[in-house]
Protein backbone atom coordinates (compact mmCIF):
# COMPACT_ATOMS: atom_id res chain seq x y z
CA UNK A 1 0.00 0.00 0.00
CA UNK A 2 1.53 3.29 -1.02
CA UNK A 3 1.28 6.34 1.08
CA UNK A 4 1.21 10.03 0.36
CA UNK A 5 3.67 12.42 1.95
CA UNK A 6 2.85 16.09 2.27
CA UNK A 7 5.40 18.81 2.90
CA UNK A 8 4.22 22.24 3.95
CA UNK A 9 5.90 25.62 3.77
CA UNK A 10 3.93 26.76 6.79
CA UNK A 11 5.00 30.38 6.68
CA UNK A 12 3.50 30.79 3.21
CA UNK A 13 0.07 29.62 4.40
CA UNK A 14 -2.74 32.17 4.67
CA UNK A 15 -5.21 29.78 6.29
CA UNK A 16 -7.67 30.10 3.40
CA UNK A 17 -8.88 26.53 3.73
CA UNK A 18 -9.18 25.73 0.02
CA UNK A 19 -7.04 22.63 0.51
CA UNK A 20 -9.13 21.49 3.47
CA UNK A 21 -12.27 21.56 1.32
CA UNK A 22 -10.54 19.85 -1.60
CA UNK A 23 -9.06 16.91 0.32
CA UNK A 24 -11.11 13.78 -0.38
CA UNK A 25 -9.60 11.97 2.60
CA UNK A 26 -10.52 14.85 4.90
CA UNK A 27 -7.14 14.85 6.60
CA UNK A 28 -6.34 18.55 6.45
CA UNK A 29 -7.48 21.18 8.89
CA UNK A 30 -6.68 24.72 9.91
CA UNK A 31 -4.68 24.58 13.13
CA UNK A 32 -6.27 27.28 15.28
CA UNK A 33 -3.78 26.58 18.06
CA UNK A 34 -0.84 28.06 16.15
CA UNK A 35 -0.04 31.12 14.08
CA UNK A 36 2.69 31.34 11.49
CA UNK A 37 5.01 34.26 10.70
CA UNK A 38 2.18 35.96 8.79
CA UNK A 39 -0.10 35.66 11.85
CA UNK A 40 -2.41 33.27 9.99
CA UNK A 41 -3.60 29.92 11.35
CA UNK A 42 -1.84 27.53 9.00
CA UNK A 43 -2.93 24.11 7.79
CA UNK A 44 -1.83 20.85 9.27
CA UNK A 45 -2.37 17.22 8.41
CA UNK A 46 -4.33 15.22 10.93
CA UNK A 47 -3.48 11.76 9.57
CA UNK A 48 -0.69 11.47 7.01
CA UNK A 49 -1.21 7.70 6.83
CA UNK A 50 -4.55 8.28 5.09
CA UNK A 51 -3.05 10.53 2.40
CA UNK A 52 -3.64 9.05 -1.07
CA UNK A 53 -1.36 11.58 -2.80
CA UNK A 54 -4.12 12.74 -5.14
CA UNK A 55 -2.60 16.24 -5.18
CA UNK A 56 -5.98 18.00 -4.92
CA UNK A 57 -4.77 20.07 -1.98
CA UNK A 58 -1.74 21.34 -3.89
CA UNK A 59 -3.86 21.97 -6.98
CA UNK A 60 -6.16 24.28 -5.01
CA UNK A 61 -3.49 26.06 -2.97
CA UNK A 62 -2.99 29.55 -4.38
CA UNK A 63 0.22 30.06 -2.44
CA UNK A 64 2.33 27.00 -3.17
CA UNK A 65 2.33 25.82 0.44
CA UNK A 66 1.99 22.11 -0.27
CA UNK A 67 4.28 19.64 -2.01
CA UNK A 68 2.97 16.15 -2.54
CA UNK A 69 5.00 12.94 -2.79
CA UNK A 70 4.14 9.28 -3.01
CA UNK A 71 6.12 6.54 -1.30
CA UNK A 72 6.29 3.44 -3.42
CA UNK A 73 6.73 -0.09 -2.10
Amino acid sequence: MSSGILKFEIDKCKGCGLCVAACPAKILKIDVKTVNKKDYHPICCTDMGKCIACGSCALMCPDGVISVYKEED
Partner: protein, 248 residues
Protein backbone atom coordinates in the same frame (compact mmCIF):
# COMPACT_ATOMS: atom_id res chain seq x y z
CA UNK B 1 9.65 8.46 -3.64
CA UNK B 2 7.69 9.90 -6.54
CA UNK B 3 6.90 13.57 -6.82
CA UNK B 4 3.19 14.14 -7.33
CA UNK B 5 3.28 17.91 -7.05
CA UNK B 6 5.98 20.49 -6.58
CA UNK B 7 5.74 24.18 -7.30
CA UNK B 8 7.02 24.92 -10.78
CA UNK B 9 10.33 26.81 -10.87
CA UNK B 10 8.64 29.14 -13.34
CA UNK B 11 6.89 30.75 -10.38
CA UNK B 12 9.52 32.98 -8.81
CA UNK B 13 10.47 32.61 -5.18
CA UNK B 14 8.23 35.39 -3.97
CA UNK B 15 5.30 35.22 -1.65
CA UNK B 16 2.08 36.22 -3.34
CA UNK B 17 0.48 39.39 -2.05
CA UNK B 18 -3.03 38.24 -2.98
CA UNK B 19 -5.75 37.78 -0.36
CA UNK B 20 -6.22 34.40 1.34
CA UNK B 21 -8.10 32.11 -1.00
CA UNK B 22 -7.79 34.39 -4.04
CA UNK B 23 -7.56 32.20 -7.11
CA UNK B 24 -5.00 34.46 -8.87
CA UNK B 25 -2.38 32.24 -7.28
CA UNK B 26 -3.84 29.19 -9.02
CA UNK B 27 -4.21 30.96 -12.38
CA UNK B 28 -0.64 32.31 -12.29
CA UNK B 29 0.72 28.86 -11.47
CA UNK B 30 -1.20 27.08 -14.23
CA UNK B 31 0.10 29.46 -16.88
CA UNK B 32 3.65 29.09 -15.63
CA UNK B 33 3.33 25.29 -15.45
CA UNK B 34 2.16 25.10 -19.06
CA UNK B 35 5.02 27.29 -20.28
CA UNK B 36 7.64 25.48 -18.28
CA UNK B 37 6.42 22.03 -19.27
CA UNK B 38 6.38 22.98 -22.96
CA UNK B 39 9.89 24.46 -22.71
CA UNK B 40 8.70 27.88 -23.90
CA UNK B 41 9.27 29.90 -20.73
CA UNK B 42 12.32 31.66 -22.15
CA UNK B 43 10.50 32.73 -25.31
CA UNK B 44 7.40 34.13 -23.69
CA UNK B 45 6.47 37.75 -23.03
CA UNK B 46 3.52 38.60 -20.79
CA UNK B 47 1.43 41.73 -20.34
CA UNK B 48 -0.15 42.40 -16.97
CA UNK B 49 -3.24 44.55 -16.33
CA UNK B 50 -4.18 47.28 -13.94
CA UNK B 51 -5.80 45.45 -11.05
CA UNK B 52 -4.67 43.24 -8.21
CA UNK B 53 -2.42 41.37 -10.62
CA UNK B 54 -0.60 44.45 -11.90
CA UNK B 55 2.46 42.98 -10.20
CA UNK B 56 2.04 39.53 -11.72
CA UNK B 57 5.58 39.99 -13.05
CA UNK B 58 6.87 39.63 -9.48
CA UNK B 59 5.77 36.02 -9.58
CA UNK B 60 5.99 34.94 -13.22
CA UNK B 61 9.44 34.15 -14.56
CA UNK B 62 8.91 35.63 -18.01
CA UNK B 63 9.68 39.00 -19.57
CA UNK B 64 6.65 41.04 -18.66
CA UNK B 65 5.28 44.55 -18.86
CA UNK B 66 2.47 46.43 -17.11
CA UNK B 67 0.03 47.94 -19.56
CA UNK B 68 -2.28 50.89 -19.00
CA UNK B 69 -5.78 49.91 -17.88
CA UNK B 70 -7.46 47.80 -20.54
CA UNK B 71 -4.73 48.26 -23.12
CA UNK B 72 -2.96 44.93 -22.73
CA UNK B 73 -4.31 43.43 -25.98
CA UNK B 74 -2.99 46.45 -27.93
CA UNK B 75 0.36 46.25 -26.16
CA UNK B 76 0.54 42.51 -26.80
CA UNK B 77 -0.44 42.82 -30.47
CA UNK B 78 2.50 45.15 -31.04
CA UNK B 79 4.97 43.04 -29.07
CA UNK B 80 3.97 40.09 -31.23
CA UNK B 81 4.69 42.10 -34.39
CA UNK B 82 8.20 42.86 -33.13
CA UNK B 83 8.83 39.27 -31.94
CA UNK B 84 6.55 36.99 -33.98
CA UNK B 85 8.46 33.89 -32.89
CA UNK B 86 7.79 34.53 -29.22
CA UNK B 87 4.66 33.56 -27.30
CA UNK B 88 2.83 36.65 -26.09
CA UNK B 89 -0.01 36.58 -23.59
CA UNK B 90 -2.18 39.02 -21.68
CA UNK B 91 -3.52 38.44 -18.19
CA UNK B 92 -6.46 40.68 -17.38
CA UNK B 93 -9.25 41.17 -14.85
CA UNK B 94 -12.85 42.07 -15.46
CA UNK B 95 -12.45 45.83 -15.04
CA UNK B 96 -9.45 45.78 -17.33
CA UNK B 97 -10.86 43.59 -20.07
CA UNK B 98 -14.65 43.92 -19.87
CA UNK B 99 -14.93 47.59 -18.99
CA UNK B 100 -12.24 50.03 -20.05
CA UNK B 101 -10.57 47.54 -22.36
CA UNK B 102 -13.52 46.31 -24.42
CA UNK B 103 -12.31 48.17 -27.49
CA UNK B 104 -8.86 46.64 -27.33
CA UNK B 105 -9.97 43.05 -26.70
CA UNK B 106 -12.62 43.11 -29.40
CA UNK B 107 -10.16 44.45 -31.95
CA UNK B 108 -7.37 42.06 -31.02
CA UNK B 109 -9.90 39.26 -31.57
CA UNK B 110 -11.21 40.95 -34.72
CA UNK B 111 -7.72 41.18 -36.23
CA UNK B 112 -7.08 37.58 -35.23
CA UNK B 113 -3.96 38.62 -33.33
CA UNK B 114 -1.77 35.62 -32.61
CA UNK B 115 -1.73 36.17 -28.88
CA UNK B 116 -3.38 34.39 -25.95
CA UNK B 117 -5.56 36.21 -23.44
CA UNK B 118 -6.37 34.92 -19.95
CA UNK B 119 -9.39 36.70 -18.55
CA UNK B 120 -9.78 36.51 -14.77
CA UNK B 121 -13.50 37.01 -14.21
CA UNK B 122 -14.33 37.43 -10.53
CA UNK B 123 -17.45 39.53 -11.04
CA UNK B 124 -16.17 42.54 -9.10
CA UNK B 125 -13.38 45.11 -8.96
CA UNK B 126 -10.74 43.76 -6.61
CA UNK B 127 -7.90 46.20 -6.25
CA UNK B 128 -9.98 49.35 -5.97
CA UNK B 129 -12.09 47.87 -3.19
CA UNK B 130 -15.17 46.11 -4.53
CA UNK B 131 -16.94 48.28 -7.09
CA UNK B 132 -19.35 46.75 -9.56
CA UNK B 133 -17.82 45.20 -12.65
CA UNK B 134 -19.57 44.66 -16.00
CA UNK B 135 -19.59 41.02 -14.92
CA UNK B 136 -21.15 41.56 -11.47
CA UNK B 137 -24.31 39.44 -11.16
CA UNK B 138 -27.84 40.82 -10.71
CA UNK B 139 -28.49 41.34 -7.02
CA UNK B 140 -24.79 40.97 -6.18
CA UNK B 141 -23.70 43.75 -3.83
CA UNK B 142 -20.82 46.03 -4.71
CA UNK B 143 -19.64 49.36 -3.34
CA UNK B 144 -21.13 51.15 -6.36
CA UNK B 145 -24.30 49.02 -6.28
CA UNK B 146 -24.91 48.86 -2.59
CA UNK B 147 -28.42 47.44 -2.89
CA UNK B 148 -27.19 44.92 -5.40
CA UNK B 149 -26.82 45.25 -9.18
CA UNK B 150 -30.07 46.28 -10.84
CA UNK B 151 -30.75 45.52 -14.46
CA UNK B 152 -32.65 48.79 -15.00
CA UNK B 153 -29.57 50.84 -13.98
CA UNK B 154 -26.70 48.72 -15.12
CA UNK B 155 -27.94 46.15 -17.58
CA UNK B 156 -27.36 42.43 -17.43
CA UNK B 157 -23.84 41.16 -16.67
CA UNK B 158 -21.59 40.90 -19.72
CA UNK B 159 -20.79 37.45 -21.06
CA UNK B 160 -17.41 38.12 -22.63
CA UNK B 161 -16.61 34.62 -23.89
CA UNK B 162 -19.92 34.41 -25.75
CA UNK B 163 -19.41 37.85 -27.23
CA UNK B 164 -15.87 37.20 -28.45
CA UNK B 165 -16.88 33.81 -29.83
CA UNK B 166 -18.96 35.62 -32.46
CA UNK B 167 -15.76 37.13 -33.93
CA UNK B 168 -14.07 35.10 -36.66
CA UNK B 169 -10.57 36.06 -35.58
CA UNK B 170 -11.14 34.51 -32.14
CA UNK B 171 -10.48 30.92 -33.15
CA UNK B 172 -10.28 29.45 -29.64
CA UNK B 173 -12.69 30.59 -26.93
CA UNK B 174 -13.27 28.65 -23.73
CA UNK B 175 -14.63 29.39 -20.29
CA UNK B 176 -13.31 27.48 -17.30
CA UNK B 177 -13.46 27.88 -13.52
CA UNK B 178 -10.98 27.60 -10.66
CA UNK B 179 -13.32 26.46 -7.92
CA UNK B 180 -12.52 22.73 -7.68
CA UNK B 181 -9.66 20.35 -8.44
CA UNK B 182 -11.37 18.95 -11.52
CA UNK B 183 -12.18 22.44 -12.83
CA UNK B 184 -8.60 23.52 -12.17
CA UNK B 185 -7.32 20.54 -14.20
CA UNK B 186 -9.63 21.50 -17.06
CA UNK B 187 -8.46 25.11 -16.79
CA UNK B 188 -4.85 24.02 -17.22
CA UNK B 189 -5.76 22.12 -20.38
CA UNK B 190 -7.51 25.20 -21.74
CA UNK B 191 -4.44 27.33 -21.03
CA UNK B 192 -2.28 24.77 -22.82
CA UNK B 193 -4.63 24.84 -25.81
CA UNK B 194 -4.53 28.64 -25.87
CA UNK B 195 -0.75 28.54 -26.21
CA UNK B 196 -0.88 25.74 -28.75
CA UNK B 197 -3.23 27.82 -30.91
CA UNK B 198 -0.62 30.58 -30.80
CA UNK B 199 2.26 28.20 -31.55
CA UNK B 200 0.43 27.06 -34.65
CA UNK B 201 -0.35 30.63 -35.69
CA UNK B 202 -4.06 29.93 -35.94
CA UNK B 203 -5.44 33.18 -34.54
CA UNK B 204 -6.61 34.76 -31.32
CA UNK B 205 -6.96 32.47 -28.29
CA UNK B 206 -9.11 33.38 -25.31
CA UNK B 207 -9.69 31.66 -21.98
CA UNK B 208 -12.10 33.10 -19.43
CA UNK B 209 -11.29 31.80 -15.94
CA UNK B 210 -14.08 32.21 -13.39
CA UNK B 211 -12.29 33.22 -10.23
CA UNK B 212 -13.05 34.26 -6.69
CA UNK B 213 -12.65 37.46 -4.71
CA UNK B 214 -13.46 36.43 -1.12
CA UNK B 215 -12.77 39.81 0.46
CA UNK B 216 -14.95 41.89 -1.86
CA UNK B 217 -17.67 39.25 -2.05
CA UNK B 218 -17.76 39.27 1.74
CA UNK B 219 -17.40 35.50 1.86
CA UNK B 220 -14.80 33.21 3.44
CA UNK B 221 -12.62 31.60 0.78
CA UNK B 222 -14.28 28.18 0.73
CA UNK B 223 -17.77 29.71 0.70
CA UNK B 224 -16.61 31.94 -2.14
CA UNK B 225 -15.82 28.85 -4.24
CA UNK B 226 -19.26 27.47 -3.41
CA UNK B 227 -20.84 30.74 -4.56
CA UNK B 228 -18.97 30.40 -7.83
CA UNK B 229 -20.65 27.03 -8.28
CA UNK B 230 -24.13 28.17 -7.21
CA UNK B 231 -24.34 31.60 -8.79
CA UNK B 232 -21.57 32.25 -11.30
CA UNK B 233 -21.41 29.04 -13.28
CA UNK B 234 -25.17 28.95 -14.03
CA UNK B 235 -24.87 32.45 -15.57
CA UNK B 236 -21.40 31.96 -17.06
CA UNK B 237 -21.52 28.36 -18.33
CA UNK B 238 -18.28 26.43 -18.57
CA UNK B 239 -17.95 25.65 -22.23
CA UNK B 240 -15.56 25.34 -25.13
CA UNK B 241 -17.25 27.78 -27.50
CA UNK B 242 -14.81 27.46 -30.37
CA UNK B 243 -11.76 25.35 -30.96
CA UNK B 244 -9.72 24.78 -34.12
CA UNK B 245 -9.46 21.20 -35.39
CA UNK B 246 -5.67 21.32 -35.11
CA UNK B 247 -5.78 21.77 -31.36
CA UNK B 248 -8.62 19.53 -30.21
Amino acid sequence: MKTVFEMTPAMREMELHYCPGCTHGIAHRLIMEVLEESGRLGDTIGVSPVGCSIVAHRYMNVDMIEAAHGRAPAVASAIKRVHPGNLVFTYQGDGDLASIGTGEIVHAAHRGEKISTFFINNAIYGMTGGQMAPTTLIGQKATTAQEGRKVEDSGMPLRVAEMLATIDGAVYVERVALNSPSNVRAAKKAIARAFEVQEKGLGFAFVELLSSCPVNWGLPPVKALEWMDEAMIPYYPLKRFKCPEEVK
